[in-house]
Amino acid sequence: MDRVLLKNRAAIPFDDLPKISYQAMGDIAIGCLCAGLRPVALFGVPEERPAGAVRIIALFADDVKGTLAVTSVHAERGATVPSLTPSIPAFHLFERQLWEEFGIVPQDHPWLKPVRYPHDGHTPRRVEEGYRYFAMNGEESHEVAVGPVHAGVIEPGHFRFLCDGERVNHLEIQLGYQHRGAERLFRTGPLAMKSVLAESVSGDAAVAHATAYAGLVEALGNSAIPRRAAVIRAIGLELERAGIHLGDLSALCNDIGYLPGTQLFAVMRTDIINTSLALCGSRFGRGLIAPGGVMHDIDEKKKERIASTVRRVRDNAGLLAASVFDNQNVLARFEKTGTVDTATARAIGLVGPAGRASGLPCDIRLTHPTDAYSDHPLIKTVLQNGEGKAAISGDVYARAFVRHQEIQDSLRYITELLGRLDAVQDGIAAPVERPRAGMVAFSITEGWRGETLHAAVTGDQGETLRYYIKDASFHNWFGLALAVRENGVSDFPLCNKSFNLSYCGFDL
């Protein structure tokens, strides 16, 4: 058997993972692609015996059947293996990470460069060292280099544009400045006490990462959470989604100078996150989720507060969005800017709202639902723009419009979930078992950025041997780099905000 099928949030014994050859891996990968499976992750787990061995785990998602296909390959540090990237471009960055972490060289990889300059990589390098940028021939073109320290209050990263005049021919993004060694910190001490660390992986997606983390711990311990806790978790996740999307629409309006949009969306965001503050004591949903359930209940007062906020914001956001998306000046800036077409998006594995805006039907809440999303499925509306077209053109407009849709959907879903609260009175937390020994587990959540994966491998005593995090940004940064081609340099901030990617979620 060359692969194992799992559900989301499932754990299986590590030794049950099939061990295939690299040749077979290539064939399986292509087979999965042809069968419509989506590449999700490719990462290495260092093994004790033999010394220097690395088990590379490959994960694919079947969005139709709702399963995950997992397989693994044996490799060694420093070995050269055939690259999967030429046939599966979505694995390009994963193979670069394997090279950086374990020295496994993917032969014929078209773009082998450092990923995040980790402190414990195979060949330690100072940041920026050894990064050979793609360059343009001809002395008349120039390069625009931005970062690491950017003009706004934003995380650091380096962008290298190849321009002739105002037109961008190519963008290359080099990250790694935010590397804090987060994955390693998950391995020190009991895994169940890492909620705050999980929330800090990418602080603007605290609930998403906390949900994935908690689900992983519960899967490893084979624990279940009360249904009420599941509902409250979903409410927290959707509040985070709505709040951030409102902030993104505000930022997009700011970049085109449409100030009514900037201020009014920002104010609505404040409304939502202050509601989050009332719910759990943090505007970012920190401290809400822990393994076993949630740490704050929703009483009648909070329920009324959340319900009225959601009602108000839903109306106001709908009204404002209708006004914004009808404005010809706004559309002139948004449409046909930063386009990623469907084929490219599928090839690079774009996820989240950016992927959906490019026409890819990827949403873990629908395809691999867990907890509240499986008990009470989320129904999405597909709003149409003024021309009666669904927004899947892959440009800034589509990514903005998808956010508008998702705000409406999330707020409606929260209202539905609040209605369910009375029916689920089984408490907000259950005791969580210790992680079982020798297991591997995968926990995927649809954060507001997209597919957020936490995976772990436990050892003989149940200790964490490997903790692996894949933020949605790991796929989507490349989408941004491709989107900016052929656009003007001055449209870059607009494209950047339309993706809104995580630097620290990428750098870990």
Binding site: V127, E155, H179, R180, G181, L185, T188, S202, C504
Partner: protein
Amino acid sequence: MVFRLLKARWRHGSQAVPDPIAAQVDPMFRGFPDIAKEGTLSSETVALCPGAALSVNPVAIDLGKCHLCGACSRAANSPIRLSSRHHLGQTKRDALIVTAGTSFEQYHARAEKGRAEIRRLFGRSLRLRSVSAAGCSACEMELNATTNANFDMLRYGIDIVASPRHADAVIVTGPVSANMADALEDTWSATPSPKLLILMGACAISGGLFAASPALDRRFLSDHTPDIYIPGCPPHPLTVVNAILNYLGRGI
């Protein structure tokens, strides 16, 4: 279309917080820790703290390491209660340590003002340059929020600028990864004197829950003495605004 926009605007009314200095936050906010005078902390409780901020003899919380997660307050027999008082800024590192029995008023009184010349120069106009030195982006978002329509610290003459050349102060978020150490140093050198150094968030002040990670390089902070410490994870925008206003002599 214009009418829709006007309607949307009308519905929002005025969103500005009228007086950020006197404003209060939602009681759920996890702020200043009140530690009962006669209280003890068990070793399990101490181990709960993600930032290793708790000490036992005497019972104390180092707000420079504290992520205000509330785990210690939820432990059994815990003497710690997190109030919703949000004026947490200080000007000395050891002033951030809250021992048992310290009242909020006593704590707040420790916060000093900047020296007279600094207050004269920056009291009515202070420009901040933000450096995210491996921050998780929560502090960055709250720093951005300080200039929005709600908190609007620009009304006090405090604003965020794009270049360190235009700045009077460098505000650092994040635990300072090794990969950002050079850039932080360069930003500081590029800022003209006189300048202030402000640390925002537990990670910036002490490394927080990342303190033990070998991926950090915090030598910059041992070479330069910060002027303002703003604890929290992330600090509420009102905490940020009030810490700065206090330093400039304009707070409560």
